[in-house]
């Protein structure tokens, strides 16, 4: 059995027939072919799959594609403005906020949410805000620096 969905991903609308059980993250990766969003676990702990749905962050492994029907989804691929990096992307680069890069798409999208809700966070607020995203490489310190640098810019704006 399949059901129709209409999901806009990074500005492009996708009208597709999907199994009701299809996870949003698999819709993004396998149906849309937008593989920037990662799958790092199967219990919604790691946050590698974090995207924005209608501007609000969501672990896309916790949602079904059908739940995103009619929604606008933004993934890491949709964050930059053409060739101009989003301030968060630039800050992660500048502050060495990534190593292997696998958690990075989710970490940047979660940071986007953090700054949307708390535009000028303290370090403690950043650390608390990112506790749902796992990184095994950086020890988080440079991620905190990156988010702090991006804060105060337009980082949290859609």
């Amino acid at each position: 059995m399949t059901v129709p969905v209409s999901i806009t991903v990074n500005g492009q609308r996708y009208d597709r027939e999907v199994e009701p059980r299809l996870l949003l993250v698999h819709f993004l990766r396998e149906v849309v072919g937008s593989t920037g969003t990662k799958v790092g676990c199967d219990t919604s702990q790691c946050g590698a799959c974090t995207v924005l749905m209608d501007g609000v962050s969501l672990k896309s492994c916790t949602a079904l594609a059908v739940q995103a029907d009619g929604a606008e989804v933004t993934t890491i691929e949709g964050l930059a403005d053409g060739d101009a990096l989003h301030p968060l992307q630039d800050a992660f680069w500048e502050k060495h906020g990534l190593q292997c890069g696998f958690c990075t798409p989710g970490m940047i999208m979660a940071s986007h949410e953090l700054l949307r809700v708390t535009p000028d966070p303290s370090d403690a607020q950043i650390r608390h805000g990112l506790e749902g995203n796992m990184c095994r490489c950086t020890g988080y310190q440079n991620i905190v620096r990156a988010v702090r640098q991006a804060a105060g810019t337009t980082a949290g704006q859609p």
């Binding site: 199994e19 059980r21 299809l22 990766r29 072919g33 937008s34 593989t35 920037g36 969003t37 990662k38 799958v39 790092g40 676990c41 199967d42 219990t43 702990q45 790691c46 590698a48 993934t75 890491i76 691929e77 964050l79 930059a80 990096l85 992307q89 992660f92 680069w93 500048e94 060495h96 990534l98 190593q99 292997c100 890069g101 696998f102 958690c103 990075t104 798409p105 940047i108 370090d123 403690a124 950043i126 650390r127 608390h128 990112l130 506790e131 995203n133 796992m134 990184c135 095994r136 490489c137 950086t138 020890g139 988080y140 310190q141 440079n142 991620i143 905190v144």
Partner: protein
Amino acid sequence: MSTRIFGSGIRRREDPRLITGSATYTDDLTLPRMVHAAMLRSPHAHARITAIDTSKAAAAPGVIAVYTHADTEGGLQPAPCAWLLPDSDLKIASYHCLAKDVVRFAGDIVAVVVAESRYQAEDALELIDVGYEPLPAVTDPEAAAAEGAPKLHDEIDGNQAFHWKVAGGDVDAAFAGADVVVKDRIVQQRLIPNAMEPRAALASFVGATGELTVWNTTQNPHIVRFLTSLVLGLSEDKIRVIAPEVGGGFGSKIAAYPADFLTMFCSRKLNRPVKWTETRSENYQSTTHGRDHVQHVELAAKNDGTVLGLRCTVHAGMGAYLSTAAPGIPTILHGLMLSGVYTLPAVHEDVYGVYTNGVPVEAYRGAGRPEATFMLERMMDVLAARLDMDPADVRRKNMIPKFDDGHEVVTTLKYDSGDYPGALDKVLSHADYAGLRAKQKAGPANGTYTGLGLATYVEICGLGPSQVAGAIGFQGGLWESAIVRFHPSGKVHVFIGASPHGQGEETTFAQIVGSELGVDPQDVKVFHGDTDNTPMGWGTYGSRTTAVGGAALALTARKIRDKAKVIAAHLLEAAVEDMDYEDGKFFVKGAPDQSKTIGDIALMANVAWNMPEGVEAGLEASTFYDPPNFTFPFGAHLAVVEVDAETGAVALKRYVALDDCGPQINPVIVEGQVHGGVVQGVGQALWEEAVYDEGGQLVTGSMLDYALPRADLLPDIEVLSTVTPSPHHPLGVKGIGEAGTIASTAAVYNAVMDALRPLGVTSVRMPLTPERVWQAIQDARQAKG
């Protein structure tokens, strides 16, 4: 060398693709006609397979094939163990890619399903009927070695995979002449590496050519190719292994795994591309784990704190089978490091590698050295407590004095260079150790006890001279390679045999070329991780990529410079010996205005219109660098913790890390390595443990249950360094990838024990969870009465 490029914290060259979602990891790949594999794994830790019925699965929607062990006979050899530890009575049990008759850990693969989609393949797994006759299981290494323990492999008595020894000096005399002997039983708990990218393989066999291409989440594609040729019976020239973007490894992507070989086998059988990607749960129950030592340690000393000897017995859990490099980890990389930064007159260690009904244990960040460092550093603190000395004083008393060109220790290793007292002193003064101690003496505030923990360390990196590799049973070489190719435009391509997977060598290697040849690092592109397009190399582990591969690259760049100088002399109509070089410019001595840039030379060498006689066209060189010795980075770390005696909760308040990896090519990248390494070691001390229940079920089977370090649990780490070049490395560099992990577990553990000392607690099993700490406090109170 240009100091502007070497030593500069430039932004990483690899990041633009990573921060935009443009990078391609193995699971991101799709090929035409590609199908998906899923593995049926044993739910039992130990059981006999009485029957397998795959008929329902084979008939399920989308299913293309289902294979069990019988289907692989003749087409698939067992996954090899490639470190044949000598003089150890090594007994290697066959690690069949699909279990044959018996499963030996919960996660052992019983069947593989190939289907049109991943969902269909996973659905079909549930339709396979397997009859199991459960057998008794054992997962603790000491229990597995005990008389009467369940036997894993019929042909191997006592579950003993090997018995390895290291001995030096007269340890019996040391203990006989000691004023004081301190002892401890240390459990280096089993850990799960948790690279954020799960493991995956995409195999594409083309029947018409007989060629197999494999994209694989590996730290060492050339080794995977080599082992694939053995397991699948294909010659190496028909196999291409590509490590695309790889999302961390920490040792867990060294091994060549049954699931990888099965994916290749399926592709060969079906003549179409097959992809397999593990789930995180699957990762926990099948991708290699780390550590798992039970150590009985005794340290002999004089009353003034002078250490006389170390005696220890280690039972190292190896899991159900020996993983690719496993036998060398708790032995060569552990036992040979038992002198640490100290003058240790005598040592004796017995290491028993023991088969257990758990996931195979492999290298995990630090790989043997953290287990050695912890043992020594813990005993230093136990000794200090016994003698009522300050832990810093006991360390200083026994430290090897500064040396810059070789120091041989009792385990026969020759350290390259070090200044251990200098490292310790710098940390103590930075942290105001004396002040912290004075504050601590004031006593606990509101039931909160402060503790200070030190760990000083030296590690063995830059693995290593190939002659030594052969002598210690490593079934390969340990050299590295580099090719440098100048294009007519002066832009550079570099090809290396090592395989970085997050460490940043695309940047640091561009900096090496930049500094040696005066080109902009932005104009240097580094290629790695493809056996068809890079020279042979042995991979990225043991902090060896820069220590060995970086040397290969520096020497290659110098060959280019030598050739360029000859061409420049010709173009400037000067004698070669009259030529000088600085920052990418070749000029006649004393006449810097008359010069040729490396770009000019690259153009001329490529068009070759006017070359010196006898000089070949092109500007390209290569080096296969076999190091004369290992490198020995070192450092000193200090942790400050607060323990709430009412709840047992530990808070890490401060962490100071000093690491000396020699000259730093990119200090920002070095600092990042230290941060990540330290946090992984803190995780072991405070939170992480792979727990098996009595039946051999992995209780910590998901990220819900296995406590990974989180952002909100950590302070900022204060990173310091000293610079002691390696005398035998062309750039003096030593390696930094594992340093943090090697020191931090001991530093944090010692800090917590220091805090608990007034309460009478002397030992707590790691990880130091609030429950364990609280219980230890209660037990100590009871014991006191």
